[in-house]
């Protein structure tokens, strides 16, 4: 496994939290209010981001939006080519998603395959009325026709770079950094 070397900091804690706040407001705007919606965070970091967005919407609108977690491991299209099996995490929906407006939340969108798997998983869980995607970073290099509806920041990257959205709950601090794989 190649070593990852931190190259630069793209967002400080303040920057990241501003972006998350903006995304929360945009979600309510897209939904035209707070009715009939559900936030779904994609494991792992998407889950923490979704909870923060839930809290921010509650602060702004005094409504607690239902928030679920989605693990897409079992729907990945690259499983048969991996020599090491990804760890499966939990999938928990507080409500039936049928007929609801689902807002998928993830940290970074890259090839789009994770989101494809997430859509397949959602469809097996029920039939949402609509699905929209919100991400913190769009790093380009899409391999499927999938695009975020709400985006924090677009950052062009090369294929041997990695963007890490770090959250205090998991990584000890909030920030976004770009790393490079050493050969």
């Amino acid at each position: 496994m190649a070593e990852l070397r931190e190259k630069a900091r793209l967002m400080s804690s303040q920057d990241l939290n501003r972006v998350i706040r903006r995304i929360a407001h945009e979600i309510v705007e897209h939904n035209k209010g707070t009715d009939n919606m559900i936030l779904v965070g994609i494991h792992r970091r998407g889950v923490y981001l979704a909870r923060r967005i839930q809290k921010l919407i509650e602060e702004a609108e005094s409504v607690k939006i239902p928030c679920g977690e989605l693990d897409i491991t079992l729907y990945r299209d690259d499983l048969t080519t991996l020599f090491e099996q990804p760890v499966v995490h939990s999938t928990r929906m507080p409500q039936d998603i049928a007929g609801k407006n689902v807002f998928l939340i993830d940290d970074v969108i890259y090839t789009g395959r994770t989101i494809r798997a997430a859509l397949e998983a959602l469809v097996d869980l029920g039939r949402p009325a609509l699905v929209e995607l919100a991400v913190i970073i769009d790093r380009g290099h899409r391999e499927l026709p999938i695009h975020p509806d709400i985006c924090g920041k677009k950052v062009p990257t090369s294929k041997n770079e990695v963007i890490e959205v770090r959250v205090a709950e998991l990584d000890g601090k909030d920030e976004v950094v770009i790393c490079e794989r050493d050969a």
Partner: protein, 318 residues
Amino acid sequence: MSATPNEIGQIVWRHRNVIDLDGWSKDELYFLLDQARHMENVMDRPIKKVPVLRGKMAVNLFFENSTRTRVSFELAEKMLSADVVNWSVSGSSQAKGETMRDTAWTLEAMGADIVVMRHGAVGAAQYLASKLKRAIVLNAGDGTHAHPTQALLDLYTAWKHIGILEGKKIALVGDILHSRVARSDIIGFKTVGCDVVLSGPPTMMPKEIDALGCKYEIDPRNAVKDADMVYLLRIQRERQQDGLFPSIDEYHRWWGADAELLSLAKPGALVMHPGPMNRGVEIASEVADGNQSVILEQVRSGVAIRMALLYLCAGGAR
């Protein structure tokens, strides 16, 4: 062996074939139980299917009759979207004329990726695994030697109720000598740090119990005392014909689990059985149907554990 995920959340799962639980580490066992929990969630969804094994062929090769285990594996395979073939062979391979070697090569020629086998001969699963080049083997029971998936589902069921099993006591009562379930459970529960105590008629105990690393209490009341789990093994009627015990009634009176025996265990102790039960022999109905019994839950656990095992052993590239 490390069962902790690396930084991108992948585990190095080193088992391809699952023949027995010999040499499995505590970390590996707990990791598998954790993954099984997520698989059990799939069983609750409206669409009980995930595409993990899509395009892979699973062959259930059963030389011994067993509807329960076979169906459990079949459900697990289908929920993971595998293509399933059920191949039942009645009688030994010799009676049929085809050697196991030829059966193995036929399966590979047909494109099998996974072979789940139950056979009456000790060492059969190991033998099959040595003959196959590509497909993996999951042992659904080889003679009196091992039944690893049963032990894993027993561990999973116990863990769901009790949590961390270190230091807990489990009493295994019955025909240990002829039981592959017992042998695998002994290894599994000891590995996670349980105190395993055996009981049953001396004619049904292996001569060198020390080799198994457990204590033997001829009186089941001593084995069950303060146990957190009471596990009853099936008594086969043929054993009575072999002269190992004189009558079903005598066995039941001395070693059968009734409410009185169960009262000696810890309050709320789990009652477990691999099924199918012989009511009135090794277990009284009042206990089998009582609120401490997790026997039906074991059945459900079986599908989840088998799904987790299939995912980890057969889900990836090889």
